[in-house]
Symmetry: C2
Subunit: 202 residues, 2 copies
């Protein structure tokens, strides 16, 4: 569900974003032309310019959508939690890692083509990434304060490690591989608890 | 020092690889033409074709060189160690993370443009990556066998986490940032020891 355009336009814009995403994964942002996106989406170049101002705008929309969805999911997890920090951190990792498993192409492009965003889109996406990290920073800080978590490193370094490990999933995970998404989630929860010197949840 | 061509050719080939690397970081592999590489390197297109068979061959050479150098360094670390697994793992992490700090562009391209390699170059580079991981798998297996390391996850998952965390360094580390390469190395050694439930070295 595209949240950036009104419902009656969502189908067309979404189809274009999907085609662009596939092309970006294959040839990179700079290696893909608007004409190729139109050809893959089986739409006219004119229709692309009806929905988007430029190729940059398509990349921006792809990134804002996936980050926006992640932020919404993380917020739901946080709001549903009873403030037990291990439960909350586990829930946040589950939502975050699941996204990297299920929306692998968007996650990969979100990292590898961040360099291709121009301003002010870059700052918009960086603000969203900071918001994602913010959920983790917040729960880690509370866990350190109440003694559940312990780290000899800077808490921000641990949060970055949790982010990087999830990002890695978008690079190595294979839907048809030996591990289920649930296996991957459990591994990442275990790793985070170890990095924070906390007992496994439960 | 370019190890793929004879010494008298190394200067030219190296200059071309450096120019190509900068262009790939900026515009991606598919977004960069041989002509642009020639222009950045201030050489003729003909000279590029004297040193390399194609743009693919330049990417292949960049990747083989950096992986080859890492493998050589990891081998030196391993051979210098007295088989204490914590010392060996720390040394391997130091060499691996240092490379991601100091050869950031090559490390970033090594990950983001792996998809752009065609066969058989892709298999060559994957074999090198497996060799890099092999050093870590070997020491982790010995550490688990002798009781120094403990993990509830698959040892290969822990090794992959160590690889992914190093890869992340090539994306976020800034030479002019608040952390020195030594800080980053120490953090990654600490993280690995925590993932393996081992006491800090020393």
């Amino acid at each position: 569900m595209n949240r950036l355009v009104s419902a009656d336009q969502a189908g067309g814009a979404n189809m274009i974003m999907q085609a662009a995403l596939a092309a970006f994964v294959k040839h990179g942002f700079h290696g893909t032309s608007i004409r190729e996106i139109a050809s893959h989406a089986k739409v006219s170049v004119a229709l692309i310019y009806y929905h988007f101002t430029s190729k940059d705008d398509i990349l921006r929309s792809i990134m804002l959508r996936v980050h926006g969805d992640v932020i919404e999911e993380l917020r739901e997890v946080r709001d549903a939690c009873d403030r037990d920090v291990r439960t909350e951190l586990s829930g946040l990792i589950r939502a975050h890692v699941m996204c990297h498993c299920e929306r692998q192409a968007e996650s990969f492009i979100g990292n590898s083509e961040l360099r291709s965003l121009s301003e002010p889109a870059l700052q918009e996406v960086i603000a969203q990434r900071d918001a994602v990290a913010g959920f983790f920073k917040d729960v880690v800080a509370r866990g350190i304060a109440d003694g559940t978590f312990r780290t000899t490193q800077q808490p921000d370094d641990v949060v970055r490690a949790i982010m990087v490990l999830a990002m890695g999933v978008s690079m190595w995970f294979r839907q048809d591989g030996p591990q289920t998404t649930d296996d991957v989630v459990q591994t990442h929860i275990t790793f985070a608890m170890r990095l924070l010197d906390a007992a496994p949840e439960g």
